[in-house]
Symmetry: C2
Subunit: 188 residues, 2 copies
DNA sequence: ATTATCCGTGTACGATCGTACGCATGACTG
DNA sequence: CAGTCATGCGTACGATCGTACACGGATAAT
């Protein structure tokens, strides 16, 4: 306790991160229903004992994993919104984000729904979704008034769901038109 | 095989229905992740053996339960939409449906999300959500043009999610304004 | 070099899971 | 009324689950 401070003593400081990442992989593939310590441990290539060592239990693991995920998603959205200059560009960016083929992968969609489902039932997870939504809304408010931002947020959510559930590819025209109508408000 | 035809021989013809209803209760309370034969059997007050007797396995039980649920939800929505006469009334009805305090209970929200989550990952369940969405869209098309119906459908979905996740009660004004903007299209 | 420390892991335990299957039992046939 | 049969249930089994916990071995201290 004299020199390097409270640094971790042993190797592998990123073990915890690998477990979290693997947990998200397992969630994406098998759902929260099919996520177990053993499966995550296998996916992360760590021994089973590491699970209880790094996380107090399943709840903490899930909360940590979904926390990481929602923060990453919010950060990505913020960045995309920060890189545009005016409303028209923002609208185009939104269309790109929602429409198929862009960065939003099915994996992300699945994880997002898993989180929403958890949040719908357990208030503890609602903190995560609320924080995520708040950041998205703030990002939107760089270019739209608060009321419009709220509406856009809801619309994006709904269109994203449809993209996740529709077997046919999303119709870019509809997305564009819907965003146009929403942003046609008084100060949108 | 002479008289009443292939009627069930023993008592309790509605046992299957009770199991399905109980299954939805369990899903609402513990999620698909926490749904097991034993729990459903206990909730339906039937012996464990009835599970494998009436359903080939967990998959069939879930598919049956979610099928019942989505059909009921679609039917309810259709009815509400069929009872209105013009577009303005339809818009008011949509606001009532989305905004808090109306018939959409948290239970229904939770089950809906569980279904969406399953559908996002497994295409087999997407048939259910697709059928549901198709019926909703058709119901909306009684009063709105197809493109607007699609947009409204997405918007409703998104607003419903926000209602499920927001801790604060839904703002009726925003809902009304959003629907107004969407329906301000050329033939909306 | 020796000792003390504690990180990280292997393993084991009790609970719960889905599912199969033999059998009691009530319903039809004659 | 007796015989036949399928329905519906009790029970048991193997797998898998979350979690606890004792211990080996690397590291820091002297």
């Amino acid at each position: 306790m004299t020199d390097p401070g409270p640094r971790t003593r042993r190797q592998d400081p990123e073990r915890r991160e690998r477990i979290i990442a693997a947990c998200l992989d397992v969630i994406a593939e098998s759902g929260v229903a099919g996520t177990s310590h053993r499966r995550v441990a296998a996916a992360a290539d760590v021994p089973l004992g590491s699970m209880t060592y790094h996380f107090s239990g399943m709840d903490e693991l899930l909360r940590e994993a979904f926390g990481r995920f929602s923060a990453a998603m919010a950060g990505y959205f913020e960045q995309r919104m920060a890189e545009v200059r005016d409303r028209d560009q923002a609208k185009l960016e939104l269309v790109s984000l929602i429409a198929a083929g862009d960065s939003y992968s099915r994996r992300d969609l699945v994880i997002t729904h898993e989180l929403y489902t958890l949040a719908a039932r357990e208030p503890a997870f609602r903190e995560l979704t609320n924080a995520w939504m708040a950041r998205s809304r703030t990002a939107l408010e760089r270019h739209f008034d608060p009321a419009t931002a709220r509406m856009l947020d809801a619309l994006i959510e709904g269109l994203t769901i449809h993209r996740a559930l529709d077997t046919e590819p999303q119709d870019r025209t509809i997305v564009t038109a819907a965003i146009d109508r929403i942003t046609q408000g008084p100060t949108g």
